[in-house]
């Protein structure tokens, strides 16, 4: 889990997506009218509420399911979700905070060297796929961790995974392979 074992790499978490349930039906119209920081999308049936303190955007459905995006750490995501539930409570709904789950974590990492993408693809055949016509990065999927890495030729790597641990271990796993194909 410790990504800084032998390599001093900075892994920056840029986005954490989480979901939770309020176990009660929410009246979107009411939220839209009384909230100062909400956008009501009636055609798709959801309300976007943006919080300032942990900078997050929450999508609220009338069934009571809420999705929060934009947090920079797992704790922050939880904090923001709780705040959101609190504000819904204030608006008058019988909110119960249940089923909190972090769904997706997006992180960015920079290698101190460039990477030869065609070579890298050849060495990592089934996991890596590279289509320069479509996207300039190599898409490397780790099935065991359910993580996807996008490796650019400049050495910058974007990782998405189900939680922060998976992301960290994905970077650790990929480091030796990328090191082989460095410039």
């Amino acid at each position: 889990m410790d990504a800084d074992s032998d390599v001093a790499l900075d892994i920056l978490i840029t986005n954490v997506v989480c979901v939770f349930r309020t176990r009660c039906h929410l009246n979107l119209r009411k939220i839209a009218l009384e909230g100062a920081n909400v956008i009501y999308k009636r055609d798709v049936g959801k309300v976007l509420m943006k919080l300032r303190k942990p900078r997050i955007t929450a999508t609220i459905w009338s069934s009571g399911r809420v999705m929060c995006t934009g947090a920079t750490s797992e704790e922050e995501a939880k904090f923001g979700a709780r705040r959101l539930a609190r504000s819904l409570q204030k608006l008058g709904f019988q909110v119960i905070f249940t089923d909190f789950k972090v769904v997706n974590v997006l992180a960015v990492c920079n290698m101190p060297f460039e990477i030869r993408l065609p070579e890298f693809t050849k060495n990592n055949r089934p996991h890596a796929s590279y289509e320069p016509e479509l996207h300039p990065a190599v898409c490397y999927r780790i099935k065991t961790l359910r993580a996807t890495l996008q490796i650019f030729s400049t050495g910058s790597i974007t990782v998405t995974g189900p939680n922060v641990k998976a992301v960290a271990s994905a970077v650790e796993q990929i480091y030796p392979f990328v090191f082989e194909s460095r410039k």
Binding site: L33, S87, I96, T98, F100, E114, F152
Partner: protein, 681 residues
């Protein structure tokens, strides 16, 4: 002929195989082991001319099932099973597309094989057939190394490249085929040909290739579309050989944007190779390699950032000095200011001015809407006061004004964090205590009780988010304006539905519920079948089950055919009730007229319904009569008359009487009803 096998029933090995009948029968117990044995003999038939030809037909490898009829054949796909149809369809489309791309037969066959693999892995489900076919073709192009781009395919099909790319990637992954990476060098001959260099085509191509290799070494090609690089290389190569090819012409051939081409050219310009003359370039190869252009751009960014940091540090130093002067001036002014009394006393503190006002404001807003108006009024006075003070100060202007402006809007968060309103003032002491205590009880477990853990949550900020009435109204108006179109549509839709309802035409488009599939009842006797079916069905209290059961037992006395038909008919809908009704009602008409029966019967049924009210003799006497016609006529009844019967069912069941009388009405006991009549229905 001993079959060399052992009979499954009795275990004896004496099995007789009869080629003529195509059977394999055990001579011990007589059980048939095989039926319709396939024989691989060739038979010959004599032609009119005297020669002989083999009997048989050619069957295609892919096709299965019945061969198409000789006479018909309007639709080649008619009668084949779905899989064969799909494959044939796919083959046709592959050939169609492949010819447009000028692929040779071998490629097309390989593509078809890919397609077959895809179909067997169910990859065509949920995807447009055209996409899958395009992906198969592109896969072939990649593996064979033909100079076809995904862009070409998307041009032909008018489909988004990325959509095709997605399908292609999926296909390659599922089929575990590793498509070799694209080499831009592959495209050079093709583009060169399209640019029409005439005799010098080959030379220009070679120069362009060299350029490309140089670009590769200079790290310009990773992560870039190969077509862009080709375009740049060809442009330069053309100029080197005195061909005037404009950027526009090259773009049309290569299919990239003008800016992309220019960018590649500028990147190439930055490499040291660009400084060589033409002759030098053809002879010498520079040893050093360049960094990729995006890398150098990144380095530039880093440098700029560092510069900015250094600058800002210096700025901070200066700012420190300025702020110290500001403080001194402030203190001086403070001392010379007149003291305000009353409510505004606490307002005259220096730095926490913003904090205290906001906190007080917060409290008021949270507690009472009426107070809000008063607070606003008070605030206005306060602002005026502050403004006057502002003008007296010099550097404080910006800072305080901003603070004031922030007050009018929801205050800045930092200032709020100072003096927080207490739970008591907000009136939510109890709820908070509850939440905190539950948290203590189960630390870190939220899913259990679902209580909201309030630690660290600033309620005041959340309060900001709740608008008051006027604000809500304004917002509602704004939203209405914004979404006017959508609301209009909804209204029109509703109006339409209302109109239709009035006219009675309104059809509610409910999502189609697939019909419930019932398992076919498997029973050894008709009686069992009826019983099982009765269990399955919603049973009416109006049926006399005993009669039904007796019906069937009586029916078993009659010829076998009827039994079969009763079995069959038990499996059709609502038979048991039908049986009695149908048999009762339709007994005689069946016997009489042929085609006119149907209308006749419907009228009879109508008559019967009409005569419901009439009183008829007891059922008991009819029961035995019932059985006979029932037994005899069961087969014909339900088949023809189910739809009509549906409606009449309930009423009919009530009164066995009617039926009997109807039967009597129809007159006669023609029990020897012809089996032939069945065929008509």
């Amino acid at each position: 002929m001993p079959g060399g096998r052992v009979c499954a029933a009795c275990g004896c090995s004496e099995i007789e195989v009869d080629a003529a009948r195509g059977d394999a029968v055990c001579t011990g117990c007589g059980s048939v082991l095989e039926d319709n044995i396939i024989v691989s003999e060739v038979q010959f038939v004599e032609n009119s001319g005297g020669g002989s030809s083999a009997v048989g037909q050619f069957v295609s490898l892919d096709g299965a099932g019945k061969t198409p009829t000789l006479g018909g054949g309007f639709h080649a796909n008619l009668g084949k099973e779905s899989r064969a149809q799909t494959l044939q369809n796919g083959k046709r489309q592959i050939h169609h597309l492949g010819n447009q791309l000028q692929l040779n037969q071998h490629c097309l066959d390989t593509a078809f094989n890919f397609f077959k693999m895809a179909v067997s892995k169910h990859l065509t489900r949920g995807r447009k057939m055209t996409h899958v076919i395009a992906a198969c073709l592109y896969l072939v192009c990649r593996t064979e190394g033909t100079p076809h781009m995904l862009l070409d395919l998307s041009d032909l099909l008018q489909v988004n490249v990325y959509v095709l790319g997605k399908t292609f990637l999926l296909l390659a992954r599922e089929l575990c085929i590793n498509a070799p990476a694209i080499d831009p060098c592959l495209y050079i001959p093709r583009f060169a040909h399209m640019l029409e260099f005439g005799d010098k085509n080959h030379e220009v191509s070679m120069t362009a290739l060299r350029l490309l290799q140089r670009m590769k070494r200079d790290w310009m090609h990773t992560g870039r579309r190969p077509s862009g690089l080709c375009g740049a290389a060809l442009l330069v190569a053309a100029r080197m050989h005195d061909f005037r090819r404009t950027v526009k012409e090259v773009i049309r051939v290569v299919k990239v944007c003008e800016s992309t081409l220019r960018k590649r050219l500028t990147e190439f310009e930055d490499t040291p190779t660009s400084q060589l003359t033409i002759d030098e370039f053809m002879k010498i190869d520079l040893e050093e390699e360049c960094d990729p252009p995006s890398f150098t751009a990144g380095q530039k960014k880093l440098k700029i950032q560092q510069l900015e940091k250094a600058l800002s540090k210096k700025l901070e130093d200066f700012e420190g000095e300025i702020s110290s002067y500001q403080d001194e001036i402030e203190i001086e002014l403070e001392n010379s200011r007149p003291k305000a009394k009353g409510v505004f006393a606490n307002f005259t503190k220096d730095d926490p001015i913003d904090d205290s006002t906001s906190s007080i404001l917060g409290e008021e807003e949270a507690e009472d809407e009426e107070l809000e108006a008063a607070a606003n009024h008070l605030n206005k006075d306060f602002y005026n006061e502050l403004h006057e003070k502002d003008r007296a100060k010099t550097d404080e202007d910006g800072k305080c004004k901003n603070g004031n402006e922030a007050l009018v809007r929801p205050p800045a968060l930092e200032s709020l964090l100072g003096p927080l309103p207490t739970a008591a003032s907000l009136g939510i002491t109890e709820s908070i205590k509850e939440c905190i205590s539950t948290k203590d009880r189960e630390p870190g477990e939220n899913t259990g009780d679902g209580e909201l853990d309030l630690s660290g949550i600033d309620d005041s900020e959340i309060d900001r988010y709740i608008l008051n009435e006027t604000e809500a109204q304004i917002k509602a108006e704004l939203w209405m304006k914004e979404n006017a179109d959508y609301l209009k549509e909804q209204k029109e839709k509703e109006a339409r539905i209302a109109k239709e309802k009035e006219l009675g035409i309104y059809k509610e488009h409910k999502p189609k519920k697939s019909a419930k599939k019932r398992e076919p009842i498997q029973a050894s006797t008709a009686g069992e079948a009826i019983e099982k079916m009765l269990e399955q069905k919603k049973i009416s209290s109006k049926i006399n089950y005993n009669v039904l059961r007796d019906l069937n037992s009586k029916g078993s006395n009659t010829p076998k055919k009827e039994d079969d038909s009763t079995d069959d008919s038990t499996n059709t809908k609502k038979l048991s009730r039908r049986k009695s009704i149908a048999s009762r009602n339709i007994a005689n008409p069946v016997n009489s007229v042929g085609k006119r029966l149907r209308p006749l019967i419907s009228t009879q049924l109508a008559k019967k319904a009409a005569t419901e009210e009439a009183i008829f003799p007891s059922t008991q006497a009819e029961a035995p009569d019932l059985q006979k016609p029932a037994a005899v006529l069961v087969e014909s009844g339900p088949v023809a008359y189910n739809p009509d019967e549906e409606v009449e069912e309930e009423e009919i069941e009530d009164d066995d009487d009617h039926c009997m009388s109807a039967l009597q009405l129809m007159g006669g006991n023609d029990y020897g009803c012809d089996m032939d009549d069945d065929d008509g229905y």
